[in-house]
Every structure is written in C-alpha cells, then in structure tokens.
Symmetry: C2
DNA sequence: AGCATTATCTGCATTCATGCAGATATTAGA
DNA sequence: TCTAATATCTGCATGAATGCAGATAATGCT
C-alpha cells in the first residue's frame, strides 16, 4: 500500500470520526437525553437484554449511577426492568420498542444524507463498506475496554 | 443493488455508528473532558481557527456557554484566544498543538485495533473506504445542521 | 458625533449526571 | 443453618455544564 494512500486516510479518517461523534451528541440533545443515556438505549436495542451490571460495564458507569440511568430511561418508557427468574438479585434491562423518543425524526437527516452517499455506490462497493463496518465495530468495542482498563 | 445487501448494511451500520460514539464518550472520559469539550478541540484542530460564535454554532451551545467552554479549554492549555485584528469584538479560537491531554494515549487502542482492520485491506479497498469517509463527513455535518434547525 | 447592531463576556441560577458508602435482597458454600 | 459473596438500590453530596438576561466593547451607518 502506497504512502500517499495512507496519508490521505490518516487525514480523512479522524475528521470522519469527529463528525460521527458530533452527530451523536446533536442527536442526543435533539431527543432530550444525555449522550450516555441515548447510547445506552442503543446498546440495549442492538445487543438485547442484559443485566444492570453488564450495562454498567458497557457504559463505564458505577452500578449506582447505572441504577439511576435505568430509572431515567424506564420513566420515559424506553426500557423495561425484568427480574431474572434464575437469580432474583439480578435485574435484566431490555429496550422497549417504541418511538416515544422521536429518534426516527432526529435521525432522518442523517438517513437522507447518508442514503445519498450510499446510493452512489456500486453493489460491490456497498459490500466492501459493509464488510469494513462489520470488522470495525468490534474493534471499537475492544478499544473501549482497553481505554477503561488503563485508567 | 440487491435487497439482501441493503438489509445487511441496515443491520450493521447503526451498530457501527453506535460503537464509534461510545468510543468517543469513553475517550472523553479518559482524558477528563466532557464530550462536547473534547469534540470542540477536535473541530478546532481539524478545521482551524474560528470565532467564538462559529464555535457556538458548531457545538450547538449558546454564546455564553461557549465562552465558558473556551475558558475551560484555555485553562488546560488546549486552546488559545486571539483577538481578531480586523474586528476587535471578535475572538478567534485556535487549537494549541500539544499533548497536554494524553489524547494520543487514549486513542492508541483504537489506532491499534483499527490499524489491524485497515491493514487487511488491499490498496484499492483503502482507496474506496477513504472516498467513502470523505463523502460521509460533510453528510454528517449537514445532518447536524438540519437537526439543530428543526428544534 | 450618535445610534443601532454585533460579538463576547459575566452573574446568577438551575438542572442533572455521577460518585461513594452503606442498605437490602438473594444466592452459594461450609 | 450460618456466613460470605454478589447484585442492585438508596441517601447524600457534589461538581460541572448550561441557559438566560444583562453588561461591555467594538463596529458601521446615518
């Protein structure tokens, strides 16, 4: 791989990540949630129910702060507590599928704009991009854990 | 483009964005800044000096809150205020290139893990990905503006 | 020169997320 | 059964980000 290629990636990629995070913050603000709260809901809906403790680990909060986070989300009807029948100390939290948030509306501009970007791609390019996204996602999750371990 | 392709993209992409934002939040926490503060620094260093008001617009904060944000960043030596000689009401803010933050250290895990992902790509794939990132970045910025306009 | 406009800053107040330490409930093990 | 360990919750406290309204400073127009 040639040097110029990597340099261009190095220049473009940080700005790209910056834009995505900024967009995430703006979305949270638009739906009236803190960033952590909104992305906790996302995590729950993408990866399914998990215990309060697991959610604490994912978000990097203490268990106490996580209790309060779940309280807030439950109060807004975004999340549901289910006691684990196998171990009644544990509380499973699951996303309620609803659009109590107007999350769909908040994401509409991104969907439109990104839709145009993807629409300009060939099927092969879409496949390549999807492959990349699929590999990059766990890489970010691993990086998150590593950041938190070295605190 | 076939349906299955788009469905896979639709499943993978939201998780990908979720991971990036979560990683952004974890990074901010690791360096001891609020998410807005950290991504304001990023915006300044990527796009160069801008007025306080422009930064307010970019972050979606009021001008008062932005003054405080600049105060915080200046106090930590991440940013510098420069009075605009052409219009002395205006304050230009520019990023100070320093690693007063151990931002490099905080980003190291992501660099490593993502580096592996990119290393597995052919030069052609790298070029295609870079093209995509380059097109997606302004799309996100436009989406941010649209979200804020419809508040 | 005088006035309206613009850009940033300040004082004040408030909301909110979060940590911490101890409480409670449940399970597991000796 | 008694005790230790585990999972979540609560009370309390605090720091921090933010908004808002008015203050200050600079510019531009008439």
């Amino acid at each position: 791989m040639s040097r110029p290629d990597l340099e261009r990636l190095g220049a473009v990629y940080p700005r790209y990540l910056n834009a995505i995070v900024l967009h995430g913050l703006a979305t949270a603000q638009a739906v009236g949630l803190g960033p952590t709260d909104l992305y906790a809901v996302g995590t729950l809906s993408f990866y399914g129910r998990m215990t309060s403790g697991d959610l604490a680990a994912k978000t990097g909060l203490t268990t106490g702060a996580t209790t309060r986070l779940i309280d807030r989300l439950e109060q807004r009807g975004l999340v549901r507590r289910v006691t684990d029948p196998a171990d009644r100390r544990r509380v499973l939290v699951e996303a309620v599928e609803t659009d109590a948030l107007e999350l769909d509306a908040a994401l509409a501009p991104a969907r439109d704009k990104l839709g145009e970007v993807f629409a300009a791609c060939s099927p092969a390019e879409i496949a390549a991009l999807t492959d990349h996204f699929e590999r990059a996602t766990p890489a970010f999750h691993e990086a998150i854990e590593m950041i938190r371990e070295s605190d």
